[in-house]
């Protein structure tokens, strides 16, 4: 039964692939637009051995990770602040929730006005995209700390530092992990998006696709898209792995 199901999962992609190949081989469509799969494979081959491509992947990934890291740290700090301090939540909370309504990409033109089209603007944008999910996750996590555990911390005379690092952060870890996962997805979307919209002919996967578009090289665009998808999935996989190891103390349902 297992084998059957796995085979069935492949039938649809296989069928689509076959359909695609037939379309182009029989010449029913304009092959400049709907390029034959063979061509895509060929271009993929040349791209994969091209060091410029790998450089671009590395650049995008590096941007993603640094933006994500700063956004995540800021988000955890902000979330913990909003969760523990009632007046911080009252003063900053409403503004935070209101600003969150501004759709992510709407910030880009403003950022580009202030910071130009370079690395700075992109990094700030990626950090911003990470900030919101992570802050919300950390906030939820802090709220989830039970009064019972907080009293135990008082009974054992925890210092403020100990309360933060030995009670709040571990107790909030599951929710923070969820926030970080969502933040990671947002960060990758923001990375690629900022490379599209803040195009400065620099380095990155987004730029490769722009080049493809400019040269009407559809194969390159497809290869670029596949690369985006694969790198995104890889990042998510790694994140899920790390999350599982860090939360190994949780009971498995």
């Amino acid at each position: 039964m297992q084998m059957n199901i796995n085979l069935r999962a492949w039938t649809v992609p296989a069928a689509l692939l076959a359909f695609w190949w037939t379309l182009t081989a029989a010449g029913w469509v304009d092959t400049r637009l709907i390029v034959p799969p063979g061509n895509v494979l060929r271009v993929a081959g040349t791209t994969l051995i091209d060091p410029v491509f790998w450089q671009a992947v590395l650049f995008s990934a590096a941007r993603d990770v640094s933006g994500f890291a700063s956004g995540a740290l800021g988000g955890i700090a902000l979330g913990v602040l909003l969760g523990t301090s009632r007046w911080a939540e009252r003063l900053i909370g409403p503004t935070f929730h209101a600003l969150r309504q501004i759709s992510l990409f709407a910030w880009l033109p403003l950022l580009s006005t202030w910071l130009g089209y370079g690395e700075g603007a992109k990094l700030v944008f990626i950090a911003l995209s990470t900030l919101y999910p992570v802050t919300l996750g950390a906030f939820e996590g802090v709220r989830a700390v039970t009064r019972h555990h907080a009293e135990v911390a008082r009974v054992y005379c925890f210092t403020r530092q100990q309360i933060l690092f030995r009670l709040i952060l571990p107790a909030a870890a599951p929710q923070i992990a969820t926030g970080l996962t969502l933040g990671l997805v947002s960060a990758w979307v923001a990375t690629i998006g900022s490379e599209f919209l803040l195009a400065n002919w620099g380095n990155g996967l987004g730029n490769i696709i722009i080049k493809g578009r400019a040269a009407f090289n559809v194969e390159l665009i497809i290869v670029g898209m596949l690369a985006i998808g694969i790198v995104g999935s890889l990042l998510n996989h790694v994140a899920a792995r790390i999350e599982r190891r860090a939360l190994h103390w949780q009971p498995r349902h």
Partner: protein, 274 residues
């Protein structure tokens, strides 16, 4: 061996403000506890016994009267006083060993010393071999034992227990009661147990403090001069238990006269039916 503390409670009163009006929870409670003694406090719900314990551990403040440990006024929490709650309140992200180590986190002394104490206390509560287990892998009784180890690891002078076995099933409860007595004797500290189970109170305490509710006051203190380990089936035990239970009956009853059973001459019991 931990040093057993002397606890004195003098004219302790506490009230909360509910909708602007004061609600007295404890009213003029006075109690002197000898070092190394085991005191049980019984009372129905609402008699303030948990509040009393929270005041003793320092989780609540703002009271009138005095609480003195070895002559020093009690202010806030401290490692001199340990507590076991009804819920085990272990940190789910720490192993058994790490949870017990929380108890000595802020204690004076070296790392090696602390590690020894942690290991000793894990053995004391009978959980040797479970050091690397996580709370979700333990049963309720085992988790509560970890909580007891955590409370004792810094060698406090007083151990407070707030209905520690209330959440456990009857079999585990009676087993842990015996364990608690053994641990108390091994550590040689002062212990105060709050419970609503009269049998538990009489089985474990040197004295049973009976509290009455609204406002919380000490109604009576009953001595339990029975040898340990206590035989729960013995006449003396049952008499004292009935004595304490009698305080909770709706109509006031005087204390039983003596544990002996009076026997009426059988002849007087006969009656002819016509």
């Amino acid at each position: 061996m931990a040093h057993a503390g002397t606890l004195e409670i003098k004219n302790l009163s506490k009230h909360y403000r509910v909708k602007g009006r004061p609600l007295a929870v404890l009213d003029d409670v006075s109690l002197a506890i000898r070092p190394g003694e085991f005191v049980s406090i019984v009372g129905a719900s609402g008699c303030g016994k948990s509040t009393l314990l929270r005041l003793l551990i320092g989780l609540e403040g703002d009271y009138q009267g005095e609480i003195l440990l070895d002559g020093q006024r009690v202010a806030g929490t401290s490692l001199d006083r340990g507590i076991v709650f009804q819920e085990h309140r272990l940190f789910p992200w720490l192993t058994v060993e790490q949870n017990v180590a929380v108890g000595v986190l802020n204690a004076p002394g070296g790392q090696a010393e602390k590690r020894t104490s942690v290991q000793e206390h894990i053995e004391l509560v009978g959980l040797k071999g479970f050091e690397t287990a996580y709370p979700h892998q333990l049963s309720g009784g085992m988790s509560q034992r970890v909580a007891i180890a955590r409370a004792l690891v810094s060698r406090p002078e007083v151990l407070l227990l707030d209905e520690p076995f209330g959440a456990l099933d009857a079999l585990t409860r009676s087993h842990l009661q015996q364990e608690l007595e053994r641990i108390w004797r091994a550590e040689g500290i002062t212990a105060i147990l709050v419970t609503h189970d009269v049998e538990e109170a009489v089985a474990l305490g040197d004295r049973v403090v009976i509290m009455q509710p609204r406002p919380g006051r000490i109604k009576r203190i009953v001595d339990v001069p029975l040898p340990r380990p206590r035989e729960r089936g013995s006449l003396a035990f049952t008499a004292i238990k009935d004595d304490v239970l009698g305080e909770f009956a709706p109509a006031p009853r005087s204390a039983l006269k003596s544990p002996s059973i009076e026997r009426r001459p059988p002849a007087l019991d006969w009656q002819f039916s016509y």
